[in-house]
Amino acid sequence: MIIVLSVMVAGIILGALLNDKKKLISIIDKFTNWAIYALLFLLGISVGLNKTIINHLDSIGVKALIITIGAVLGSITTALIVYKIFFKKSKIK
């Protein structure tokens, strides 16, 4: 994992040095999409090969939904607190 993280940091530094070269950025975005497609495709294959996941897809879906509810309710609640204290009064232009 450390390799992956340092690869990202290297990318950020390189990106900051690139100084908004629009054409290059749009090419990079395209490659990013394809890298994501490839990864999700590979994840799909390992899921398809995995009998335990396929047989428990319904309970996995329910678990995912419960976690989503926790994450969303938690973050909109803290967002409400931060908004009321720090953002509401000082009108943002």
Binding site: N19, L39, V47, I60, I67, G70, A71, T77, T78, I81
Partner: protein
């Protein structure tokens, strides 16, 4: 949204091929996903680093703007920690790691699969896709009852791109830069948080 749909199609295509063993053995025996992940992280890094609007936002709002991604982190982790009471067969840190995907389903599911295996990886994928869909559907409601930062918080890492249009529509144009900034910060932090939560606890 169109992009998420294509991603889902690729995932489903993979599932079907795996299910019926329609793939060559080379693909099963070799872990290509690791190299694809390196490439992806490098590309994500470049696009984050080259986005100058986040630097502008930082100057305009100063340190206050960091409160937005910070409250998303605290809220997501607290919320998932609490809700793990209802998930007895998952460890609390596993539930929190899924929450630390902040809606960035492609990256978080891959990271979680690498560390904890495909079952939790699929939970992360579905849960974070649901987070994006929830944001797309409920942002107007969140903005009305939970304040204008709520759609940004709900969107998490997606608030910089896929959910940005609905956030701007629900909270107003003046929140666009805050939204992009928060999304970028969270995007960078997803791999760190997921790794730390799964490995250290």
């Amino acid at each position: 949204m169109k992009n998420s749909f294509i991603i889902l199609l690729f995932f489903i295509a993979g599932v079907i091929l795996g299910l019926f063993h329609l793939i060559p053995d080379v693909m099963i025996q070799n872990d290509f996903s690791k190299y694809a992940l390196y490439i992806l992280m490098f590309l994500v890094g470049i696009s984050v680093g080259s986005d100058k609007s986040s630097w502008k936002a930082l100057i305009q709002y100063k340190l206050k703007i960091f409160l937005v991604p910070l409250c998303v982190i605290i809220g997501s982790l607290l919320g998932t920690a609490l809700i793990s009471i209802f998930l007895p067969d998952l460890k609390i840190n596993e539930v929190m790691a899924v929450g630390a995907g902040f809606g960035y389903y492609s990256l978080s599911s891959i990271f979680i699969t690498e560390i904890s295996g495909p079952t939790l990886g699929v939970i992360a994928l579905l849960s974070n896709i649901l987070r994006e869909i929830t944001t797309l559907l409920l942002s107007p409601f969140f903005a009305k009852y939970f304040g204008k930062l709520a759609p940004i918080a709900s969107g998490g890492a997606t608030s910089m791109d896929t959910t940005l249009p609905i956030i701007v529509k629900s909270s107003g144009k003046e929140y666009a830069i805050i939204s992009v900034f928060s999304g970028i910060v969270l995007t960078i932090l997803v791999p760190f948080f997921v790794t730390i939560i799964l490995k250290l606890f």
